[in-house]
């Protein structure tokens, strides 16, 4: 009896949360939301920037039909604006000046003439206003009882190609509105957060005679050389507790997957096939997903590090490279068109490791470098379409994609 119940339960939860099933929420079945600005700060440009960011964040939540119009009202007005009287939720906020060039932001949400949510936020500088908007959207999402969107508050780190042999390592928010160059003047690629706290990261420096894997501690600004090796060295993944790294290294010109123990500084070679084995990712079942061309074309495989056995994971497509994993899901990039350089050559696919069901996530352009968010709710990726380089965000359970273009330069790789 217990077994039967457990089995039924697992079947129900599987189908309830299988993100490979297309989820299409009809637009008119989402509750409507309008924004009312009660800010008292003088700077009109700041007020408009804040409104646009908050509006965009609430739209990305994908749980409201967000009204686009901008309207102002007194924060203490007893009822919503006339044009909003039929709207399900009205989000009213007030940015006011505080001491020392800081700001207070008061937020309340009104539904059916009642205040259902209220909170105060402190903003220390206009430069980081977008993080306030992200925090408000996060809290509203939590209030509405939806799956957590922790990723909306996290920082992205990316390598931006400025010119040949010259890149910058930049930290940004998920919309690229906030950008801070951390390392410039060199040729640095493949940055990877070293921990959940996002206060350190690994990256590969190609400046010297040989590639070097480096570690930068943001608190101390200290840069440590982890390993210099001929050929290539890239940090592909970091274990959840930050104690181990999966590296792609090629000390003798032979690219293989290695595991590195941060404390003991010892390396362990995990693959030994004579072709290309790279891009390893830790999976929740203890196995490791990686990209290999052992069947002739690049494809996604899984390795059991205890037994050494390797299994093919993806059976569709002739060229599947780059992958990221979270829980039971794998996202990978696939070259779909048989024409070498067709318009929609590279697209992202989501696969469940439990059901083998696959869902295509993108439609046009060169879509690559997918990375699951820490909570698995979103996938971030790089989209290069014609001459535009953008960060894309896919809401895994909402069947929606959002794009945030980069003004100048090209994104080489990213992590969040």
């Amino acid at each position: 009896m217990k077994f039967l119940l457990a089995f039924l339960f697992s079947v129900v939860t599987l189908f309830a949360s299988d993100a490979t099933i297309e989820i299409v929420k009809k637009v008119d079945s989402l509750p409507s939301l309008a924004i009312e600005d009660s800010s008292t700060v003088d700077d009109g440009t700041f007020r408009m920037k804040f409104f646009k960011m908050l509006s965009s964040d609430l739209n990305v939540l994908s749980i409201f039909n967000v009204e686009k119009r901008y309207a102002t009202v007194s924060f203490d007005a007893s009822s919503v604006l006339v044009e909003n009287k039929d709207i399900n939720y009205v989000l009213r906020y007030k940015i006011e000046d505080a001491i020392g060039g800081k700001y207070n932001i008061y937020v309340k949400m009104i539904s059916k003439d009642e205040v259902v949510f209220s909170k105060k936020y402190e903003l220390n500088s206009q430069k980081i206003f977008m993080f306030s908007a992200h925090a408000i959207a996060y809290d509203i999402n939590e209030f509405m009882g939806e799956d957590s969107v922790e990723w909306i508050k996290r920082r992205v780190i990316f390598s931006k190609l400025v010119s040949a042999h010259n890149s910058q390592l930049v930290i940004s928010d998920y919309t690229l509105s906030y950008q801070h160059v951390i390392v410039s003047g060199g040729f640095n690629v493949f940055p990877k957060w070293a921990n959940k706290e996002q206060n350190a990261f690994y990256y590969t420096s190609l400046d010297g005679a040989t590639p070097v894997l480096k570690h930068l501690d943001l608190k101390s600004s200290k840069i440590t050389n982890i390993k210099a090796v001929d050929g290539m060295i890239i940090c592909s993944d970091v274990s959840e507790d930050g104690s181990k790294l999966l590296l792609s290294m090629a000390p003798t010109g032979q690219p293989d997957v290695y595991e590195y123990d941060v404390k003991s500084k010892k390396y362990k070679q995990l693959t030994s096939f004579g072709g290309i084995d790279v891009n390893a990712q830790y999976m929740s079942d203890g196995k490791i997903a990686f990209v290999s061309d052992r069947m002739g074309n690049p494809n996604i495989f899984s390795l059991n590090p205890k037994t050494g056995s390797v299994e093919q994971m993806v059976y569709y497509g002739k060229n599947n490279s780059t992958c990221s994993t979270h829980g039971n899901y794998l996202v990978y990039k696939s070259r779909e068109s048989s024409e070498l350089f067709d318009q929609n050559t590279f697209n992202l696919h989501l696969m469940s490791t439990k059901t083998d069901a696959i869902r295509r996530l993108t439609a046009v352009g060169v879509n690559e470098f997918p990375r699951f968010s820490i909570d698995g709710d979103a996938i971030i990726f790089i989209k290069n379409y014609q001459t535009q380089s953008s960060i894309g965000v896919i809401r895994v359970h909402h069947n929606k994609n959002f794009l945030f273009p980069l003004a100048k330069g090209k994104i080489q790789s990213l992590d969040w």
Binding site: N124, A135, V181, I182, G185, F187, S236, S248, P255
Partner: protein, 181 residues
């Protein structure tokens, strides 16, 4: 309920501003020593004519040699998604090997593997490296000392051209030869 969310971010932002730019590695200052040796020889006029014409330092001479030889070494190009050396490029290997065994003897050869723009991910970096490795193997087969060769892959990150044409992509799929003192 107060929500003090940003002091951490601002503190971090302030930290970041303290390390926002890192200079690339500084080259050795052999240029300075060359200048001082030059000024020393020019202070003795009787022997100055011979010293001035031969007044370049060893480092400067090496740099000139490297520039000339790099101009003579031929770039090897590759087919899409492939790392084997095709028929059209095979003849470049013995020609390059001749230079490396001859005038370039004593210098380190750096093979730089490159790809076209179709993917900046790890697989492409590895493909660039496999290209460099195939060239290394071919050079060793021609008698070049393997220990004098280092390799790096730049993937798609070091393009010669950026037009979205097949000709440009073909140009970027390559292994370049660089020489190090």
């Amino acid at each position: 309920m107060k929500s003090i969310l940003f002091s951490g971010v601002v503190a971090a932002a302030l930290l970041f501003s303290g390390c926002s730019s890192k200079d690339p590695k500084v080259e050795d200052d052999s240029g300075a020593s060359a200048a001082s040796s030059y000024s020393t020889t020019s202070s003795t006029p009787s022997s100055s004519s011979e010293s001035v014409s031969g007044g370049l330092s060893e480092a400067e001479l090496k740099a000139q040699l490297i520039t000339r030889l790099e101009g003579e070494l031929q770039t090897i190009n590759f087919d899409f998604d492939k790392f084997n050396i095709n028929a059209q490029n095979r003849s470049k290997v013995p020609a390059n090997a001749g230079i490396l065994k001859g005038e370039a003897r004593g210098l380190t050869t750096k093979l730089e593997g490159n790809c076209d723009e179709w993917g900046s991910d790890e697989y492409n970096m590895a493909l660039g490296l496999k290209r460099a490795n195939e060239v290394k193997k071919a050079l060793v087969a021609e008698g070049v000392d393997g220990s004098s060769i280092t390799m790096v892959s730049y993937g798609e990150n070091s393009p010669l051209c950026t037009e979205k044409t097949r000709e440009c992509w073909a140009k970027n799929r390559r292994v370049d030869f660089k020489l190090l003192p």
